[in-house]
Structures are given as structure tokens and as C-alpha cells.
């Protein structure tokens, strides 16, 4: 099935929405250019640690970060976007990825464990979904702030993830579960793994759950609706992973592949924002090149 426009909100691109989209695109471009350099540097074997790129999924992290302020995030292994969108130091992230002790985790684990208390982001140990019950436990004792817990469509199948929905519902936790649904667990598509939908399961536990595509405005306005209620909610976001599961390589684009980045870019260009789009991309391209080159020299 093609999920490119799945439950997309049909909104008019008025001035307000264009300005919002520009803000989101700015973050998307920032994450994307960081990741593209990471990809190239890894491809050139400048470093060999574990690296999970989030290229293709940038709109999720950019939009969530803009929609909810002052939250706590628990990410999974593919967490660069969460960290960067929430204001984490890109320099520290490069250092972590290339194994320097000035990295977010002193060079402990490549992509998964990114931790930065300052921006309220907790790390992932590497076992998929294991952050989900931990995020719920955190939320239980920190109800004043929204806890955002990201996980993948593969992790969604873990027993303890499903059990967490029950706990979150019973305790009425102030938690937002976000499933980055790229329809893949490593390379195994969802249809080969399960026959149920995550939203149906979450709903049956009494959790407010929606299933949408990764269109930024659709994510933004849905979050705005949910955000105020301070009750557990789940957003399953359909997206496309553009690059390899781990390491540097490009996946073959499937029949229903879409690049949300390119779609958003095109929308803005069609709305006379070509100049903004180009200067944003150029800015981040130059910045990322300089950053990576400088940090790689430390190796």
C-alpha cells in the first residue's frame, strides 16, 4: 500500500502554514545535511562505529521538536534527528560517531546511546523497544513534563512495548509514543512480521492513537490536538528510510517510496520560496562540510 498521503490533512498553504513549513524545512535541511556528511565520511571509511542514519525520516523529528517544547525524549537507535532537532550539539554528535571522548557518550557506542541531559534526551542501549517501558517509568514520576518516546515499527512488536501501552493507559501518563513506521525491521517488511496495526492495539488499551503519513503539517496539527490533554497518546507515522539500516549505503527504492524532504522542498518552491530553500540548503551544506572536516581531523 502507498502511505505517502495516508490520512494527510488537506490544508491550504496560507501565509501561516507556509511560515510554519519553512521553519520545519529549516530543521529538516539541518538534519539532512548533517546526515549526508555522516554518510559520506562513513562511506570513505573515515570511521567505522555503529551508525544509523535517519535520512528520509527528518520531517518527524523536526516537526515534533517544533510542536512540543520543554519535553523529555527517549529515542531508539536511529536518534540523530531527535538530538539535532532538539538543539543537541552537532559537534558532540560527530565526535561520538567517530569515537572521540568528547562525544555525547565519550565515544561509547556510535549512534544508539546519544544522551544529553541539557536537551532532555535519553540514550538507547541497543535493544529495540527497551526504552519504551523506561520512558513510561520516567513519565510516571515526572508527570509535569511531556515524555516523548520514539520507537520503530519493528520495536512495536516487542512484548514489553505492548505491555507499556497498558501501563501508560492505566496510570494516565503524560506520554506521547511516536512510532517511526518505515515499514522495515532491518530489511524485513511489516507484512512478513505481523498482521495487526499498532494503532488498533494502542486504542484497545485505551490510548488515543492515530496513524498518519510524515507530512509535517499533518504531524504538527495532530500533535497540537493531542498535546493539551496530558494523557497517553500514540502517533504512528508512516515514513521511508532512504539509506541502509546501519552503515553507509543506499537502499533500493521500493514501489511506494517517497522522499518527504523532496516533497516539502517542492511545495515551498511552488509557493515562491525558491530563494529560501536554496539558501537554507546551501547554508547547511557548507556548515556540515566544515564541521565534519574539522572534527575528523582530530582522529
Amino acid at each position: 500500500m502507498n502511505f505517502q498521503n495516508y490520512n494527510i490533512l488537506k490544508l491550504s498553504y496560507n501565509q501561516k502554514n507556509i511560515e510554519l513549513l519553512k521553519k520545519i524545512f529549516f530543521k529538516m535541511s539541518y538534519i539532512r545535511q548533517f546526515e549526508l556528511r555522516a554518510y559520506e565520511s562513513r562511506l570513505e571509511k573515515k570511521f567505522e562505529t555503529l551508525i544509523y542514519l535517519c535520512l528520509g525520516q527528518e520531517s518527524i523529528y523536526s516537526t515534533v521538536a517544533l510542536s512540543i517544547k520543554n519535553s523529555i525524549s527517549f529515542g531508539q537507535h536511529r536518534g540523530h534527528g531527535i538530538y539535532l532537532a532538539n538543539g543537541g550539539s552537532p559537534k558532540k554528535l560527530v565526535d561520538e560517531l567517530i569515537g572521540l571522548n568528547t562525544g555525547t557518550n565519550k565515544g561509547m557506542g556510535g549512534s544508539p546511546p546519544i544522551f544529553d541531559k541539557k536537551i532532555g534526551m535519553y540514550g538507547h542501549v541497543g535493544l529495540i523497544g527497551d526504552q519504551v517501558p523506561v520512558a513510561a517509568g520516567y513519565s510516571l514520576v515526572n508527570k509535569s513534563k511531556k515524555t516523548i518516546c520514539y520507537f520503530g515499527d519493528g520495536a512495536a512488536e516487542e512484548d514489553y512495548v505492548l505491555a507499556t501501552f497498558g501501563f501508560a493507559s492505566q496510570k494516565k501518563l503524560n506520554i506521547l509514543f511516536i512510532c517511526d513506521d518505515n515499514d522495515l525491521s532491518v530489511l524485513t517488511p511489516t507484512k512478513d512480521r505481523r498482521s495487526w496495526k499498532l494503532v488498533d492495539v494502542a486504542k484497545s488499551f485505551g490510548i488515543n492513537a492515530i496513524d498518519i503519513t510524515d507530512d509535517p503539517l499533518t504531524i504538527y496539527y495532530n500533535i497540537k490536538k493531542i498535546e493539551k490533554k496530558n494523557v497517553p497518546a500514540l502517533i504512528n507515522i508512516r515514513t521511508c528510510r532512504e539509506y541502509w539500516h546501519e552503515g553507509a549505503g543506499k537502499d533500493k527504492e521500493g514501489k511506494y517510496f517517497w522522499s518527504r524532504y523532496k516533497i516539502v522542498k517542492k511545495i515551498l518552491e511552488n509557493k515562491n520560496q525558491e530563494k529560501f530553500v536554496n539558501s537554507t540548503e546551501m547554508l547547511h551544506k557548507k556548515w556540515s562540510k566544515k564541521l565534519w572536516e574539522k572534527q575528523l581531523q582530530k582522529l
Binding site: 569515537g99 541497543g126 505481523r194
Partner: protein
């Protein structure tokens, strides 16, 4: 010593065994991401028949496999990293391993737990976690590293009605070699090697030779039960000093236990163990904490021999 053989690799051997198991015994292979991701380093036959893809359920998953074992299919259950053993542990040790004692029926599941190491393995997935499982009754444990050894333990499993924990290491998959125990008249130390460290046996031997030290080197396939063979006793009586080396943590593990058993068996000997340090390994080279290198082994041997 290493014997070169022009036969099949370990991966090919596992694949052949699995294929035959499906064809001849109505066997099944169960686990996550088996087909789409290179057929588990080519250890799984590239076919649909007999292959059961699991959802990413890391606690219930082992339960599904145990159930299939109770149901009589002698499943091969694959864990693509040994770190997943932690989550899958309970159905394996509390159900499969104990069902014979508790209920009188058995749950023979062949557990392929795969270790890997290197800077991309990180703090969770690095190396072996067979040791905690040895603590519990009812679960034999082996660590085959050669094609012949793999065939041997498969024969054991076929005849037995117990589950079996097979501590595999990716390091072995492309290898065809067989190892032979190396016993010398004038050895000053005895080494017992487990898992991936065995691939360094020749390097260790040569480096020790340069230091003027001859060693008896034994390759351990079975970790539990660990039977003390006569040749181990003879060697210990001669050298009085030994090290048990494993590709996992040094403290509170199987290598320490084996060292203790050997030392008690042959009085007047000193048997110590060597493994990973008591800290999490990291991706960065600075945090490397893996299978002891040949240099580390030699250093430990020198220290032991010089009574330091």
C-alpha cells in the same frame, strides 16, 4: 595446532544441517529477520520451507520456540546476537531446561546464539553471554568453532531430548579449519581456549615460542557439562600452571568456574582465567574490550610463569 581442511565452512555446515533437518525430520528454523538479511550470514538455507519468521518479540519469541519443541519439531531457534539471550532467557531456562524435571516431558530446542565483536558491536552486543546460562540446571552448553565440531554437537542434539545452547561466534563462519590439541613434553603452561580466542591459538603459540615458552593448548568444545579429561590432568601435573581463556567477561563466568574445577582436581596447581574486562565495551577504539588478544594472553602467561 591447526589442521587445514578443504571441506565446507562452518556457515555452510550449519546451513546443510539445517536444510537436512527441515527435509528429513520435519524440523523448523525460527527467529527474527532470517530471510531478508543475508540468511543470517548464510547459515540458513535460502528457502521458504521450514523457515518461520518471528515478529520482533524478544521475550515471547523464545516461548514460541520452546512450544514448538514441546510439540515435537526440534526447532532451531536463532538469536542474531547473544545479547538477545537476556530477553529470551526465561522461556529457555525456566521452561525448556526444566520441563523434563518438572513435567516429565522435554523441550529440545537448539538455540543458536550468535556472538560478534569489533568496534561496531558496541556495549550491548559484543561477544558471548553463555556463562549465566551455565548457572541453571538442564541446559547443556557448547561453543563449536569448526565444521566437525558443529556436526558433533548436532549429532548430540539429535540423540538427546534436552535443549542445547550453542554459543556460536561470527568469527568462525568463514573458517574451514579444525583444531587439534597441542601437547608438548617440555610445556611450561597449559592453556584452555574457548570460543573466538581459539582462532588465535597459532599466534599465541608462536609468540610464546619467541619468549622461550612452550605451552600445551587445549580447545574446549563443551562448556557444560565440562568433563575433565585425562589429558588435561596429565598436562596440569606437568606444567602446574594454566589459564582458561574465553571470549566473554572474565569474572563470575564459565572460564573462572572451569579454572576452579581444574585447580581442585590437580592439587598444587595454579589455574587462573582470562577474558573481557569488567566494564562495557564501546564502539570507539579507546573502549575496546573484547576477546583477549594474543599479546594479552602472552603477557598473562609470562606473569603466571614468573609468579607475579
Amino acid at each position: 595446532m591447526v589442521k587445514k581442511i578443504m571441506g565446507k565452512t562452518v556457515a555452510e555446515t550449519i546451513r546443510d544441517i539445517s536444510k537436512k533437518h527441515i527435509e528429513k525430520n520435519k524440523g523448523v528454523i525460527m527467529g527474527q529477520c532470517l530471510s531478508a538479511v543475508g540468511w543470517v550470514q548464510n547459515t540458513v538455507p535460502a528457502q521458504k520451507k521450514g523457515i518461520i519468521e518471528f515478529p520482533m518479540t524478544d521475550v515471547a519469541g523464545a516461548g514460541f520456540a520452546v512450544g514448538a519443541a514441546v510439540g515435537g519439531r526440534k526447532p532451531i531457534f536463532i538469536l542474531r546476537f547473544q545479547s538477545f539471550l537476556w530477553l529470551n532467557a526465561s522461556p529457555l531456562i525456566n521452561n525448556a531446561a526444566k520441563s523434563k524435571e518438572i513435567f516429565g516431558y522435554s523441550a529440545p530446542v537448539f538455540i543458536r546464539a550468535i556472538a560478534s565483536e569489533g568496534i561496531s558491536s558496541g556495549p550491548i552486543h559484543t561477544n558471548c553471554y553463555h556463562s549465566p546460562f551455565a548457572h541453571m540446571p538442564g541446559l547443556p552448553i557448547c561453543a563449536p568453532m569448526t565444521p566437525k565440531e558443529y556436526k558433533k554437537i548436532w549429532q548430540f542434539f539429535k540423540k538427546s531430548d534436552l535443549p542445547l545452547l550453542v554459543s556460536e561466534h561470527r568469527r568462525s563462519y568463514k573458517e574451514k579449519k579444525e583444531f587439534i590439541d597441542d601437547i608438548n613434553k617440555n610445556s611450561k603452561v597449559t592453556l584452555f581456549l574457548i570460543s573466538a580466542v581459539r582462532f588465535q591459538s597459532l599466534e599465541i603459540k608462536n609468540k610464546l615460542k619467541k619468549l622461550g615458552i612452550t605451552a600445551d593448548i587445549f580447545h574446549l568444545l563443551w562448556l557444560k557439562p565440562f568433563n575433565i579429561k585425562k589429558k588435561y590432568i596429565d598436562s596440569l601435573k606437568k606444567t602446574k600452571k594454566a589459564i582458561v581463556i574465553d571470549s566473554t567477561y572474565e569474572i563470575c563466568g564459565i572460564s573462572e568456574h572451569i579454572a576452579y574445577k581444574l585447580m581442585n582436581k590437580v592439587k598444587g596447581t595454579k589455574v587462573i582465567n582470562l577474558g573481557m574486562k569488567d566494564r562495557s565495551p564501546g564502539c570507539s577504539v579507546k573502549f575496546i574490550n573484547g576477546t583477549p588478544s594474543s599479546n594479552e594472553v602472552c603477557k598473562k602467561v609470562s606473569k603466571l610463569i614468573n609468579n607475579k
